[in-house]
Every structure is written in structure tokens, then in C-alpha cells.
């Protein structure tokens, strides 16, 4: 505090005579304490659920978790059963999914942020639609994927011939999370200050050069974070994969985009639905592996955000 401010404060205290500031009243303190306790208990409910879940899964799954579990295929014998094909299947799904959602999602976001004229009704309709699509139940995307991508007119360019191949699964999951990517990318693009665009255009850059060389590089951290968060949602999705007919028992890892595959959530679901307790433990171990992969992806997102965070 500056000398002048101190002067003012002491002068004020003298004018009031005696104590400068009244002590807090008892009822204020009690109410404040109660409110704090209420907030804390709300936190404890959600944190407690998570800890219980983790402990339960951890204790069950730890018995089956081993290096062999990661490298073995699924088997009817729970002692040698592993998650390898499902793990690799999930990685294939995520990889192909990225190839689909990044270009499509970013391009859609660039259109909506940089080109679309908000005063036109069709652009506003698209915006509302994208926000609604983000809330559509995932099973609906499964039905869409089954009708149009696996069997229907798209049929993944004839590769699948009606079979549920990796590419079909990746495209279905991609459609599911595309709205999330578009919304995240739009926010990242909007966060680039207009002064950067003006500066670039004032140098004779075309709108396209401005977007490609200034706006998009500056919004990469936000876009990357959004993509990874979208993938975090996709990796745990089970319902759409079940609907499009993803195999639940595959003994081999997929060898290409047109292979039959299984994914971790499907494998976990399949183990859980068996009566023997040993398969329940396998399911718990599978959940642990899934959570580790998820945690790794989220860590990458946080790392990206901190590393490239722009300071306007």
C-alpha cells in the first residue's frame, strides 16, 4: 500500500473514533462456515464415487493385470485371455478417427467462423444444428452408421461389403464426435484476436493466406486439445459400435482399415456379460487399461495446452 493510501486509511479510522473496523459478526461467520461445508460435501460426493469405483475396479483388475494380459488374445480360458486385439483395434479406431475429424472439423469451423454470414438464416440453422448434434444419444449415431456406412449407400467405398470393418467404426465414431471438434475448433479460432487478422490483411495477404498462415497456426493448441477431448469421448463409446455390429470375439489384431476388429469397450462388455467371476476380473483389468490410455490422451491435451498457450 502506498503512503498516501495509508494516510487516508488512518485518517478514516481516527474520524470514527476507536476501532477502525468492526469485528465480523458471529452469525456471518456461522453462515459462512456452513456454506463452505455444503460446498465441500458436494465435492466429496463426486470424488468419493470416483475413488470407490477406482478401488473396486483396481482390486478386481489387479489380479489379472500383467504383461501377458496386454499381449494375449481373448480366449475362452480366462487364465490366458488378454486384451491385445481390442487394444490394437481401439488404437486403429482412434487413428482413423483423427484422420477423419481433424480436416473435416477444422474446415467446418473455419467456414463458420471466417466465412459464414451470421445474418443469413441457413448459417444460423447450421450453427444450432451442430450444437444439437453434440447432444444426440450415441446409439442414434450407431443406427446411422449401420444404415449408411456399414450397409448403406456409403458402405465405406465398397471396402466393407456389409461387414463391420475398422474404417466403418472409425467413421461412425468420427460423426459422433465431429460436433465436439467443430465447437472446440471454433472457440480456438475465435480466440485469435481480430488484430492479428487485420495486421495480416493490411500487409496484402489474401483472406486464405491469413487463415492458413496466421489464424490456424495460432489456434493449433486449442484445436489439438479439442480433438483429444473428442477422442476421449470416442474411445469409451460402446453403444454405436454394438449397433454397427462390431465383433466381440476377434482373435487377431486388425491388419488394415478393412479388417474385422474389436474394441476395448466391446471386449469389456463381452467379459462382463459372462457369469464366471474370473471374466469379471478380466473386465476390471480391461477397464484399467482403457483408463490408462484415456489418462495418457488427456495428459497430452494438457501438455499441448500449456506448451503452446498463447499470451495475447
Amino acid at each position: 500500500m502506498s503512503a498516501a493510501a495509508t494516510d487516508v486509511a488512518t485518517t478514516g479510522a481516527r474520524a470514527r473514533g476507536g476501532a477502525a473496523i468492526d469485528p465480523a459478526s458471529r452469525s456471518d461467520r456461522v453462515r459462512g462456515g456452513l456454506f463452505r461445508a455444503l460446498l465441500l460435501s458436494c465435492i466429496l460426493v463426486s470424488a468419493g464415487m470416483l475413488v470407490t469405483l477406482l478401488l473396486d475396479v483396481g482390486l478386481d483388475g489387479a489380479k489379472k493385470l500383467s504383461f501377458d494380459f496386454l499381449t494375449n488374445s481373448s480366449s475362452f480360458n480366462p487364465d490366458i485371455s488378454g486384451i491385445y486385439p481390442a487394444l490394437i483395434g481401439t488404437l486403429w479406431l482412434m487413428g482413423l478417427c483423427i484422420l477423419f475429424i481433424v480436416p473435416v472439423g477444422v474446415a467446418a469451423a473455419v467456414y463458420l467462423e471466417e466465412y459464414a454470414d451470421d445474418t443469413k438464416w441457413w448459417n444460423r440453422l447450421i450453427e444450432v444444428n451442430i450444437q444439437n448434434l453434440a447432444a444426440v444419444p450415441s446409439i442414434v449415431y450407431g443406427i446411422l452408421g449401420l444404415a449408411f456406412i456399414v450397409r448403406g449407400p456409403v458402405d465405406v467405398f465398397g471396402l466393407g461389403q456389409g461387414d463391420p470393418i475398422v474404417l466403418a467404426g472409425a467413421l461412425t465414431l468420427g460423426l459422433l464426435v465431429l460436433p465436439v471438434v467443430i465447437i472446440a475448433a471454433r472457440e480456438a479460432i475465435r480466440a485469435v484476436p481480430p488484430s492479428i487478422r487485420e495486421g495480416s490483411l493490411a500487409l496484402g495477404a489474401t483472406p486464405w493466406q491469413t487463415i492458413w498462415k496466421q489464424v490456424l497456426p495460432a489456434s493449433v493448441p486449442g484445436i489439438a486439445t479439442g480433438v483429444i477431448l473428442a477422442l476421449s469421448r470416442a474411445i469409451g463409446e460402446t453403444a454405436p459400435l454394438i449397433v454397427i455390429g462390431t465383433a466381440s470375439f476377434v482373435a487377431f489384431a486388425p491388419s488394415g482399415p478393412d479388417s474385422i476388429y474389436t474394441a476395448m469397450p466391446i471386449q469389456i462388455f463381452e467379459w462382463i456379460s459372462r457369469p464366471q467371476p474370473e471374466f469379471q476380473q478380466l473386465a476390471a483389468a480391461g477397464i484399467l487399461v482403457l483408463m490408462v490410455v484415456l489418462l495418457l490422451m488427456n495428459s497430452v491435451a494438457i501438455w499441448l495446452r500449456n506448451k503452446y498457450e498463447s499470451k495475447w
Binding site: 495480416s200 490483411l201 500487409l203 493466406q209
Partner: protein, 289 residues
């Protein structure tokens, strides 16, 4: 004071300040000047609301022209018409003619991108790109596909902007690490790199401290030998110090709406010592605004 000294004490690159001003004084009177811009009845509206109307005047080559006036008088709006930056605001529309060397900038078939290659702009707040100092300067020449050696262009531009000596050892570091005044000179260097004909400056020193402001003003006086400069400023002393001609704008109440109008346009000396219009006199003597 350090920055000011650096700007002025550099004879090999930039001629001594006082001699340059003297040369311009000699060259100034009597000669019919070549007009860079000729505005004819320019009116700019945002939506249906006119921001500035009825502006007709000529801006001359190798002069610094200052736009002064109270807030809301449309001077920033007008300067942004000179390189079609108002195109970025969807609701903005313009009537009248903005002739640049006789070509109407708003005629059909004129590409705003081509306009901005010739007419550079420096903004109120320094807006360096989130890149290295080098890449900031090189961005314009790269997107325009200029063929010269890029290192040469960068050095030449930074020298012209009186920034080279301060940054030559850290060209690859991020431009955000510079001071506000240095960032603004970097933005000027960036504008110079594409070799424009005119530089528009929209309150270039309003976000800067007095020393940096002084450095920018010295820089403008050095650059005006090669370029034509238009500056919008709230600072009347600044207009008096640097400009050759001054345009005074005022806000008129026009049927209940506030519209900016050009009140008086003359040589700076006349505007500040012997203006024709009473409103100009009141403004420059600080009676209002």
C-alpha cells in the same frame, strides 16, 4: 531518452533529422503537389447510420497528413477507407469516390488485397504476430512472393524502422518479448517490408509512453521522404509536431444523429495558428474535445 538518441544518431542509414525537416521546408511551398489520394464526397455508414459524411479533399505525396478531431468524428473510419480495411466490417458501406493516383479504390474489379499491397497500415495497438521478430517482418514479403533475399529485406526494413540495432542479436526470438514501443516499430518495419507507397497510421502512439512516442514521431519524419503518411491522432501536439497538413473533423448533430464532418483542411501551421473556422480554433486551443 535512449531510444530517441538511437533513432536520431544514425547518419549512415537515416539522414540527420533536422536537415531532413529543413529540406522538406524548402521543398514545401509554391510547387503544385502530386495528390496521392483524392476523396470526393465520401460518406461511410455502419448499417444505416452514417459515421462520416461529405468528405472531399486531396492528400499529397511525401507529406504527413494528420486527421484530428474529437472522439466519434469518423477519422479512424475514414483512414480505414483508404486501404479498404472497412471491408472487414460487414455492415460498413461507402459512398462517394476514393481516388488513389486517379484510380477509384471502390470501383468494380478492384481487389482489396492489391490495394493493401500498396497502402500499408499501422494500428493503434501494436499487433505483432505470435512469431519471431524475423518472421514478423518476413511475413508480408513471403505471402507476396517477393524475390529479394529475405535476410536483406528484413535488415533493410528493421533499419528503416530504427529497430535494427536493438534487435539484430535476437531476430529469432518471439516478438512478444519486446517493449510496446519496439513492438510498434516492428509493426512499422513489417509494413515497410512490402515496399508500400503510402503508410496509414491509426493513432500509432496512443498506447505508448512519451519516449516511445517520440521515437515513432522521429521515425515518421525520416520516412516521409520516401513515403506518403496519413496519421490519425488524438494528440494535437503530435499533429503539430509531425504533420505537413492537418484535417480537422468534428461531430455534427444531423437530425438527432451524430455524423462526422470535415471542418477544415489546410497546412498544419495554418490550422494551429490561424484557422478559418471558429470550431477549429476552439478545438486546437483546447476549449473542447
Amino acid at each position: 531518452m535512449i531510444e530517441v538518441d538511437r533513432v536520431t544518431d544514425k547518419p549512415p542509414v537515416t539522414p540527420n533529422l533536422s536537415t531532413q525537416v529543413a529540406e522538406r521546408d524548402v521543398a514545401r511551398p509554391d510547387v503544385p503537389r502530386e495528390a496521392v489520394f483524392a476523396l470526393e464526397g465520401v460518406q461511410v455508414c455502419y448499417g444505416d447510420v452514417p459515421a462520416v459524411a461529405g468528405v472531399s479533399f486531396e492528400l499529397y505525396k511525401n507529406q504527413i497528413t494528420a486527421f484530428i478531431g474529437p472522439s466519434g468524428c469518423g477519422k479512424s473510419t475514414l483512414i480505414r477507407c483508404l486501404n479498404r480495411m472497412n471491408d472487414l466490417i460487414p455492415s460498413a458501406s461507402i459512398r462517394g469516390k476514393v481516388l488513389y493516383h486517379g484510380v477509384d479504390l471502390y470501383a468494380d474489379g478492384v481487389d482489396p488485397v492489391q490495394v493493401r499491397k500498396r497502402i500499408g497500415m499501422v494500428f493503434q495497438k501494436p499487433n505483432p504476430f505470435p512469431k519471431s521478430i524475423y518472421d514478423n517482418v518476413a511475413f508480408g514479403p513471403r505471402v507476396l512472393g517477393m524475390k529479394d533475399d529475405m535476410d536483406d529485406i528484413v535488415e533493410r526494413s528493421l533499419r528503416k524502422a530504427a529497430l535494427w540495432d536493438e534487435v539484430k542479436d535476437r531476430l529469432k526470438t518471439n516478438a512478444f518479448g519486446m517493449s510496446g514501443g519496439q513492438q510498434q516499430r516492428l509493426c512499422i518495419a513489417r509494413a515497410l517490408a512490402i515496399e508500400p507507397d503510402v503508410i496509414l497510421m491509426d493513432e500509432p502512439a496512443s498506447a505508448l509512453d512519451p519516449i516511445s512516442t517520440s521515437a515513432i514521431e522521429d521515425l515518421m519524419l525520416e520516412l516521409v521522404g520516401q513515403y506518403s503518411i496519413v496519421i490519425v491522432t488524438h494528440n494535437m501536439q503530435q499533429a503539430a509536431r509531425v504533420s505537413d497538413r492537418t484535417a480537422f473533423f468534428n461531430v455534427d448533430l444531423d437530425g438527432g444523429r451524430r455524423v462526422g464532418r470535415l471542418v477544415e483542411y489546410a497546412e498544419t501551421e495554418k490550422i494551429f495558428t490561424n484557422p478559418d473556422d471558429e470550431r477549429t480554433k476552439e478545438y486546437v486551443t483546447g476549449k473542447f474535445g
